[in-house]
């Protein structure tokens, strides 16, 4: 057996006999279990809410169809209700859950999961009905403990707790000269000790994650592998960080402080700072200002259309159409409103895009940000997917308006058959898998870069000193 294998075997034996490993693992398992249970419960509720919204669309369509069947008789023409007109069409667009919704329950609540779409709705209000309402203050204060939180915040603590004294234990107890006098290089000691911790800390954490995801979400093998790979990479980064701290620390206390300081900096401080930088360089548009501007545009459109309508009323003696003029006027008003809204929204959208670009760039600031981003992408709760849904919902609204316009132009009424066969239906189209893989690879790349930086600093430290003890 070579020296590296002997070091790994002995370290495993020492760790297995240590009293800290079992409580640490039990605590981590309990947290994972709780987070997965929370995530699964949330995902079930979310799934039920989405199903209810889709049911709502079906029920509305059935109701409209029944109304049409009751109204559509020639003698009833004077008593037509609203259901017979194309302007009464009503749809729901929903964002289906991703493959691993249990991973990041908390994040998804920031985005609308559905839109209510009908021809005359203003495009900036289609998500209003399904935005999250007021939350329980306890939930708001504590945040949700989801698996992403456990992995991004607590997995490093588990690894640091098990490896903060990777070498400082020996240094503090005066074993260093005795160990280094053996015919083994310091690098081999470090690698052997780190490998043992990878086996007893990182590998089981990844296995627990895989098991929990398998039980709660049953994702595809590729997604599961991606989650496992990224978690292992993140865990290895923190192991490398602990090893690096041990190259500099003079005793276990210093090493522990170094590890905690690093955790605070990379997991807590840098993400907060990154957000601060984004706020400074590319602040988010003021939502109140945006709402007011859009409302003003809508009012302006209404006023303009009324003036135009007053100026050009229908000539005397012309036969009354099937669809009343007021609906056509309203359609013109809505179209004009949309033109104004599109123009008004443009600067806010550009501001949004700029902010997103900065946030994308800033995820390279810490492995914790990159890992969180990757987990959100795997969960399907990432901002890119949410924005894609919003764009598709807006595009669907335009389709509905075009369809309505055809009915208005042809003065055609809706029929029961239209509801039976011809109604459009919103289907969310996911981004191409290459796009998602590219983003995940970029996140993994950030973690690898940080890991390489650790290795470079560690190698420099080892090269500058023949041993740890000069």
């Amino acid at each position: 057996m070579n020296a590296a294998a002997i070091i790994v075997r002995t370290e495993l034996l020492r760790m297995a006999r240590g009293r800290w490993l079992l409580p640490l693992w039990l605590a981590f398992l309990a947290l994972c279990g709780y987070a997965a249970w929370e995530g699964a419960a949330w995902s079930t509720q979310r799934g039920a809410a989405l199903a209810a919204i889709q049911d709502e669309e079906r029920e509305v369509h059935q109701m409209r169809r029944s109304q049409i069947v009751g109204e559509l008789t020639p003698e009833n023409k004077s008593r037509y209700g609203g259901a017979i007109y194309a302007t009464a069409m009503s749809f729901r667009a929903t964002l289906p859950q991703g493959e691993l919704p249990v991973l990041t329950a908390g994040q998804a609540e920031g985005y609308p999961m559905a839109a209510k779409i009908f021809p005359f709705v203003a495009s900036n209000t289609i998500f209003d009905e399904y935005m999250a309402g007021m939350e329980n203050p306890a939930v708001l204060a504590a945040g949700r403990i989801d698996l992403a939180f456990v992995l991004v915040w607590l997995l490093p603590l588990l690894i640091l707790a098990g490896s903060f004294d990777l070498w400082s234990f020996e240094r503090e107890r005066g074993m260093e000269p005795w160990l280094l006098a053996q015919p083994v290089s310091p690098l081999r000691y470090l690698l052997g000790k780190a490998a043992a911790r990878a086996l007893l800390l990182v590998a089981p954490a990844v296995l627990v994650l895989v098991a929990v995801l398998w039980l709660t979400a049953a994702p595809g093998a590729a997604t599961l592998l991606q989650a496992a790979f990224l978690s292992a990479l993140y865990g290895l980064f923190w192991l490398g960080f602990a090893a690096l701290v041990n190259l500099f620390a003079r005793n276990a206390t210093q090493a522990a402080l170094g590890c905690v300081a690093g955790w605070l900096a990379l997991v807590v401080l840098v993400p907060a700072l990154a957000l601060g930088v984004a706020d400074l360089v590319a602040p988010a548009p003021n939502p109140a200002e945006r709402t007011n501007a859009l409302r003003a545009m809508a009012m302006q459109a209404r006023a303009e259309t009324r003036q135009q309508a007053d100026a050009a009323s229908r000539p005397e003696g012309r036969a009354a159409p099937n669809i009343p003029d007021n609906l056509r006027k309203r359609a013109v008003e809505v179209e004009r409103g949309e033109q104004l809204i599109r123009a008004a929204v443009q600067p806010y959208r550009a501001q949004d895009e700029r902010r997103l670009r900065w946030l994308d760039l800033l995820r390279a600031g810490s492995p914790a940000i990159a890992f969180q981003d990757a987990l959100e992408r795997l969960a399907g709760t990432d901002a890119a997917r949410a924005r894609r849904f919003q764009d598709q919902a807006h595009a669907f609204l335009l389709d509905v308006r075009r369809l309505t316009q055809r009915y208005l132009e042809q003065d055609r009424l809706l029929t029961a058959a239209d509801y039976d066969h011809g109604m459009p239906r919103f289907v969310h189209r996911e981004a191409p898998s290459s796009e998602r893989l590219g983003a995940l690879a970029a996140d993994a790349g950030v973690i690898v870069l940080f890991l390489l930086a650790l290795l470079a600093v560690g190698a420099r430290r080892l090269r500058r000193q023949a041993t740890f003890i000069e």
């Binding site: 020296a3 034996l13 020492r14 015919p183 000069e470």
Partner: protein
């Protein structure tokens, strides 16, 4: 076996070792005597490759320690003042670990027990966790390692400091066995009495320099003590 040539080491302005020439042959025990700061431990650290010499070189069995420290250490066993073992492991497990690192083949439990027994570790203590071992017992595990490795060079840095007289006598008995087996031994110590008893050669060091060396049998214990005190009083400026 253990050689230094014009070996020097400075720490900033302080010259810890100044042009040391040593040549310790197999079967020889060289005892370095001197006050604290005389350069004894620095010499050992340079031979182990823990420190880079400012000038000169250190050779172990002809291998330049700086050029290939790991290969040089394969031929060495270092015994510090405090041998620290992993407290969670038994004496046998500790020995298996360190012997394994040194590449000792066939580390079966029987052979490990045999080496521990030769080094004087009681059979009842072999499987006990080393966390409860006395200093003397830990030194014996280190000696067992020397036996297991058949180390050709021993570097001992005040190995008996803090040992009770019986343990100290036992340790020196084991040391003589190693010498008889052909090991070259360099020992830094303050124990004049034991040094004279076990050493082949004694060297007196002061301010990083080897002042003089002589055969241990050429001086009586009293003469050695007087010589030592004379040299040290010069060092202290008395």
């Amino acid at each position: 076996m253990l050689r230094t040539h014009a070996l020097s080491k400075t720490f900033g302005a302080h010259r810890a070792l100044d042009g040391l020439d040593l040549d310790i042959a197999p079967g020889e025990i060289f005892c370095m005597l001197g006050a604290n700061g005389a350069g004894k431990t620095t010499t050992i650290k340079l031979l182990l490759g823990f420190l880079k010499p400012t000038s000169g070189n250190a050779l172990v069995d002809g291998i330049d320690v700086q050029a290939d420290p790991v290969r040089a250490r394969r031929r060495l066993l270092y015994l510090p003042e405090q041998v620290a073992l992993y407290g969670e492991l038994s004496g046998l497990e500790n020995l298996r670990y360190f012997a394994g690192l040194a590449g000792v083949p066939d580390c079966t439990p029987q052979r490990l027990r045999g080496w521990l027994e030769q080094a004087g570790v009681p059979a009842a203590a072999v499987d006990r966790r080393a966390g409860g071992y006395s200093k003397g017992m830990r030194q014996k595990v280190a000696i067992a390692l020397a036996i297991a490795r058949s180390a050709r060079g021993l570097l001992l840095d005040e190995p008996t400091s803090g040992l009770d007289p019986a343990a100290s006598a036992e340790f020196h008995r084991l040391l003589l066995q190693q010498r008889d087996a052909g090991a070259a031994v360099l020992m830094a110590t303050h124990d004049l009495f034991r040094a004279r008893e076990v050493a082949t050669t004694i060297g007196l060091m002061r301010d990083g320099r080897l002042l003089r060396s002589f055969k241990a049998r050429d001086l009586s214990a009293r003469e050695l003590e007087q010589l030592y005190l004379d040299e040290m009083s010069v060092a202290a400026g008395l």
